[in-house]
């Protein structure tokens, strides 16, 4: 596919070893090891970087302005560093924009999260605005229940499909060496699991885990000046969108931010190349069932990594999905590799009840020369 527009190149990636709870490392160690692994994978040194972009949550990190402590272990010492208090996928979108600006050549984008360290429902309750919602005690589980009810009605979702989808996601995760090791529940076990917030059952929920993800990005100009380096993938398009904060039926059932972000990302990427793989960030299986209906994914394989059922480090989950997409297009996904993947798309959701979405298009590096 001839390319006439600038793109962003991926030189290397890394994921932290995912686990339900990483009490063996403090956050600083988790960030450092993942950043260092990504630089090693890219074959570049920290002093070659000219920018760092971080995506993290202070409340979940347990430290206000967490990046002041964690910028350095992410490679940010005396570098141009910025951070978003949002999903790691949002940080990636910002990093892509920085590299396309022409002002930056080689950068690292990093995201981490250790939800095991705190009381996540209380953190989620604090994220509601204080006057009309927080005082009722609403949290993420309530929002997911409302979302699940709305998309079930919008798409006539049946319980059998949801139980089977959950089982299939767990089975794919089981094959992924980068996933948290968990047993695969049968559809019957999933069906008999108790409700969290109707209609969501406990087994429909992607369990949280501790994790981190990093990518090393380069601009066209940097690649031209460093012919000794080869990209493992390119990012020709990113898109993001934020829907209303309101949670009425129209907003809940529309998943409008996902379709808007998808359209923006694919428009930016250009061309009409088919999508071979999509990695979806799905806090519950209802998200997967809805997104596979509203996004024009065609015959693409859905979350071969197991997606958030493989690992779900909340703030960093979207960037984990981008790394899994890069591994797919570079033929390095291991046991969950899908044959001949040339374009993968990673979707990330943020906010309550899928308020916001980020979509990242990842192409195989050889597309540049095709």
């Amino acid at each position: 596919m001839p390319r006439s527009r600038p793109t962003v190149h991926v030189l290397g990636v890394a994921l932290a070893d995912a686990a339900q709870r990483r009490d063996d490392v403090r956050l600083e160690e988790l960030a450092y090891r993942t950043a260092r692994a990504a630089l090693d994978d890219a074959g570049v040194r920290r002093d070659e970087l000219d920018n760092i972009t971080l995506g993290a949550s202070d409340e979940l990190d347990g430290r206000p302005i967490s990046s002041m402590l964690l910028a350095a272990p992410s490679g940010g010492y005396l570098k141009d560093e910025i951070r978003v208090t949002n999903s790691g996928a949002t940080a990636l979108g910002l990093a892509v924009a920085r590299h396309l600006s022409g002002d930056f050549g080689l950068g690292l984008v990093a995201s981490w999260c250790k939800p095991s360290k705190t009381d996540v429902p209380t953190v989620m309750n604090s994220r509601w605005e204080p006057f009309f919602h927080r005082d009722l005690g609403l949290d993420a589980a309530v929002a997911e229940g409302l979302f699940a009810q709305a998309v079930s009605a919008a798409h006539d979702l049946q319980e059998d499909e949801l139980h089977q989808r959950t089982h299939d996601a767990m089975r794919r995760a089981r094959e992924n060496p980068r996933a948290v090791e968990r047993p695969v529940a049968s559809p019957e076990e999933i069906a008999s699991s108790g409700h969290v917030s109707t209609p969501v059952r406990s087994r429909h929920v992607a369990e949280q885990s501790d994790g981190a993800a990093c990518l090393v990005l380069a601009s066209d100009a940097w690649m031209a000046g460093h012919p000794e380096h080869r990209a493992i993938a390119t990012i020709p398009g990113v898109g993001w969108s934020t829907d209303s904060y309101r949670l009425d039926r129209e907003r809940l059932g529309a998943t409008a931010s996902a379709t808007a972000a998808w359209a923006a990302a694919l428009r930016m990427a250009g061309g009409d190349a088919p999508v071979d793989v999509v990695e979806l960030e799905t806090p519950t299986i209802f998200h997967e069932a809805a997104l596979t209906r509203v996004l024009p994914i065609g015959v693409a394989r859905v979350s071969p990594s197991g997606g958030t059922f493989a690992q779900n480090p909340l703030t960093a989950a979207g960037l984990v999905g981008v790394v899994e997409a890069v591994l797919q297009v570079s033929g390095r996904a291991g046991p969950v590799q899908v044959p001949d993947v040339r374009r993968a798309v990673a979707h990330s959701s943020n906010g309550f009840a899928h308020q916001g979405s980020v979509v990242t298009v990842v192409d195989a590096a050889e597309r540049l020369a095709a």
Binding site: F131, G145, G194, T198, Q311
Partner: protein
């Protein structure tokens, strides 16, 4: 497959912060209305929309909301859930919560639904299905907070 690494001790700390959130003009008017037994929605003359919870501005026209209207005492459930686990709320679970579009208003406001027998989850879910009509029930003693009212099923 990743395996659980060896655990090390954790340093447990609790951080306690308190905040004074300025209620402001719009929420202040709404909470004053609750004390008087009224649910007030802000309105936008440019779009002809009425907002609950009240907004200072209109999402559609991006003009300031420039009026108030009293919402109906009844409305229709837009979205609902029976919360069973993991709830940090004011009430013990299981508890029914719904976003309700009150009559005369264009958006939905959340609150508990009283009078729902949650001992049978399936029946409880059916009783608060979207489309169900509910009425507003005010607390006898009101303090100008969202918990000054709740919803009741019309046939309760």
């Amino acid at each position: 497959m990743s395996t659980e690494p060896a655990a090390r001790p954790v340093l447990h700390q609790e951080l306690t912060l308190s905040y004074d959130y300025a209620i402001g003009e719009v929420a202040g008017t709404f909470f004053d209305g609750l004390r008087d037994g009224k649910i007030l929605a802000s309105t936008c003359s440019a779009s002809d929309l009425a907002y609950l919870p009240p907004r200072a501005y209109c999402e559609r026209s991006f003009e300031p909301c420039d009026g108030w209207t009293e919402a109906g005492e009844e409305g229709v459930i837009e979205a609902s859930t029976v919360v069973v686990r993991g709830f940090e709320g004011k009430r013990p679970t299981p508890v029914a919560i719904a976003f309700v579009r009150l009559d005369g208003v264009d958006s939905a406001i959340a609150n508990y639904v009283d009078g729902v027998d949650c001992s049978d989850i399936d029946a409880a879910v059916a009783s608060i299905a979207p489309g169900t009509r509910v009425r507003v029930a005010f607390a006898e003693e009101r303090e100008g907070r969202i918990t000054d009212f709740s919803f009741e099923l019309l046939d309760a």
